[in-house]
């Protein structure tokens, strides 16, 4: 019983950090601070994945999201010198309207999830007896058997994205 309560307390602290960092990302004036808040948010979500018994996804989250993607973001922010934009608000009322609509969206999403999807039951974190290596090996097996076609399509998608990015930033040659 004590351990169960401890797990809940741990969840609540992490949830608080996740929401705070998301709000920090949303509200900070400087884009670099936003990016750093988002890194912290991604790391917190990675800890959630560990609690949910998904060690491989947690590590992928840290390396791909918090590592690669956010470094790319920070690089572009500093390359463009776009840390802070001058505050020009074309539609001053739009912020309040968006806030109201977002509150409606949050209530609606929570309501639909809780009433329609009926996610009954409780989540327990896997205990230390679960073998992480076997877990990841099984994940790899599934990826290369049952999900082979989506996996190959993903590799083509990454190739297309890479070519697309190169073509976009390439210098145009004048053709006469």
């Amino acid at each position: 019983m004590v351990i169960m309560t401890l797990e809940l307390i741990f969840f609540l602290i992490l949830a608080l950090i996740a929401v705070t960092t998301a709000l920090g990302m949303l509200l900070s004036r400087n884009a670099v601070y936003s990016a750093l808040f988002l890194v912290l948010n991604f790391v917190t979500v990675a800890v959630f994945y560990l609690l949910l018994g998904a060690p491989f996804i947690a590590m992928a989250q840290v390396t791909v999201y918090a590592g690669a993607i956010m470094v790319l973001f920070l690089f572009v922010i500093m390359l463009l010198g776009a840390e802070a934009l001058p505050a020009t608000q074309v539609l001053p009322w739009q912020k309040y309207l968006a806030g109201g609509l977002a509150a409606v969206l949050a209530l609606e999403a929570t309501f639909i999830f809780l009433t329609r999807a009926r996610p009954a039951g409780e989540i327990t974190s896997p205990d230390a007896s679960i073998n992480t290596i076997t877990n990841i090996r099984e994940l790899g097996n599934r990826l290369f058997t049952q999900y082979l076609l989506p996996f190959e399509v993903t590799s083509i998608l990454l190739l297309v994205a890479m070519i697309g990015a190169i073509v976009l930033v390439r210098k145009e040659k004048r053709v006469h």
């Binding site: 018994g53 999201y65 790319l72 572009v76 934009l85 739009q94 806030g99 996610p119 409780e122």
Partner: protein
């Protein structure tokens, strides 16, 4: 024990903050980061449902995790192309304020 509902509510809150970021921020880079936050919230719901299924059935269940793996791969591809587009827009407009990008306004 943590009820699945708590994870789902957390996911909904994170998604809403992301949507709010897309609506109220004018910096194209921060709008893009908010999109990443929304993808992340969806991933959290995926893994939470997968774990709930695992706990309920007592057998390992990997499909949710594999979906999250694909979402992460797609997000990486999306970021590469999106940031290239933002750099191009900055080159031609000297700004990434989305209010300034209104050439097609009637």
């Amino acid at each position: 024990m943590v009820p699945v509902n708590y994870y789902i509510i957390l996911s909904a809150i994170l998604f809403t903050i992301g949507a709010l970021g897309v609506l109220i921020r004018r910096n194209a880079l921060i709008i893009f980061m908010s999109v990443e936050l929304m993808l992340n919230a969806a991933n959290l719901a995926f893994v939470a449902f997968a774990r709930a299924h695992e706990v309920a059935s007592g057998e390992p269940f990997f499909d949710g995790q594999i979906f999250v793996f694909f979402v992460i791969a797609v997000a990486a591809a999306e970021v590469a192309v999106g940031l290239a587009l933002i750099v191009e827009i900055f080159k031609s407009k000297r700004s990434i304020d989305v209010d300034q990008i209104s050439s097609m306004k009637g």
